[in-house]
């Protein structure tokens, strides 16, 4: 949903969004409603969040599934899963320096996840890894910040996802537990 209003800035959007009963992202032009995902989408996101949570240093890192606002590249996003430094955000309403971001792709959001958000996440220096998870097969694209810039890697499920910045190695079996793959895009 796109609302028309003279001109939105990140500042006016953040104040406006707090007053709303439902969630919106800000993509630089205006508010975009955040819709709830399918059961399959929720399962994958929860499994990923759980897998991260049980591996990460509890004192340093916090894993949030779906409810964290992050500000990236002048835009506001609600990632499916985000990892950030807990002590930096004790009383935070908005996560300003996320470290790992995960999106579970769905038919309606995958284009924005792959192209628009990837640019936002790459432009945010604190973000070290961006994981895009397919819902239709054991498949991920993992982008990582390295000495050569932002590099992307395609993963087909035969080896685990390694997130060096938080020292986590996550097997695909854990991410896709309880998921069966039939035909068609669910």
């Amino acid at each position: 949903m796109m609302l028309t209003r003279p001109s939105w800035t990140l500042g006016t959007f953040v104040l406006w969004e707090r007053e709303q009963d439902t969630r919106f992202e800000f993509d630089g032009t205006g508010p975009v409603a955040v819709n709830g995902g399918s059961l399959r989408h929720t399962r994958i996101a929860l499994s990923m969040a759980t897998a991260l949570d049980k591996r990460l240093d509890f004192g340093r890192f916090e894993v949030v599934r779906g409810d964290a606002r992050i500000i990236v590249n002048g835009h506001l996003r609600y990632p499916d899963v985000v990892v950030f430094n807990h002590t930096d955000h004790m009383d935070a309403d908005i996560v300003h320096s996320p470290i790992v971001v995960v999106e579970v792709l769905s038919r309606s959001t995958r284009r924005v996840d792959q192209y628009d958000k990837n640019v936002d996440y790459a432009a945010t220096p604190s973000i070290q890894h961006y994981v895009m998870l397919s819902q239709t097969r054991r498949y991920a694209v993992v982008c990582s910040r390295g000495p050569d810039g932002w590099s992307a890697r395609e993963m087909n499920g035969d080896e685990p996802i390694t997130l060096e910045a938080v020292q986590a190695v996550i097997p695909f079996d854990e991410i896709y537990r309880r998921i069966t793959f039939g035909d068609g895009f669910l």
Binding site: D27, D116, D148, W150, A152
Partner: protein, 143 residues
């Protein structure tokens, strides 16, 4: 094949007073890497010897199975760091699909080239039709 069709269609519509198009020669330094895009539309400078890479406005990549990760997730990001690039067009080699990214302030706003098949390269005043870019095999029932 697709790349030359794209160059031809752009060339036919381009305002040659303001823009020039070239294929596979321009080196763009972006995001800490050097890329040679399939197609670049740029503003020629008065100095004919100046590097065409200094004023890119629109970049096009033909996405193949071998290049799709780089085109979609790395070049997409690197081109976004060059403010002069107003639009980045990805055209799939093996299926009639394209995604157009247009700069909005700090980032890209992407759009699928929908059923109309029209690709509006507003930054250079050019419109492409997706169906015109692919080879049509005589006798096939493709429309």
């Amino acid at each position: 094949m697709i790349a030359s069709a794209v160059v031809a269609k752009i060339h036919n519509q381009l305002d040659h007073e303001r823009f020039a198009v070239c294929s596979n020669v321009v080196k763009l330094h972006a995001g800490g890497r050097v890329h040679v895009p399939d197609i670049v539309v740029f503003r020629p400078s008065a100095d004919l010897d100046a590097d065409a890479a200094s004023n890119p406005v629109v970049v096009v990549e033909i996405v193949s199975p071998a290049t799709h990760i780089r085109d979609r997730f790395e070049k997409n990001v690197d081109y976004a760091t060059l403010d002069g690039i107003r639009q980045y067009l990805m055209i799939w080699e093996r299926e009639e699909t394209a995604v157009l990214c247009t700069r909005t302030g700090d980032g890209w706003l992407s759009e699928d080239v929908g059923s109309s098949g029209r690709i509006a390269l507003a930054a250079i005043g050019v419109e492409l039709k997706l169906g015109d870019l692919y080879p049509h095999i005589p006798g096939s029932d493709r429309t």
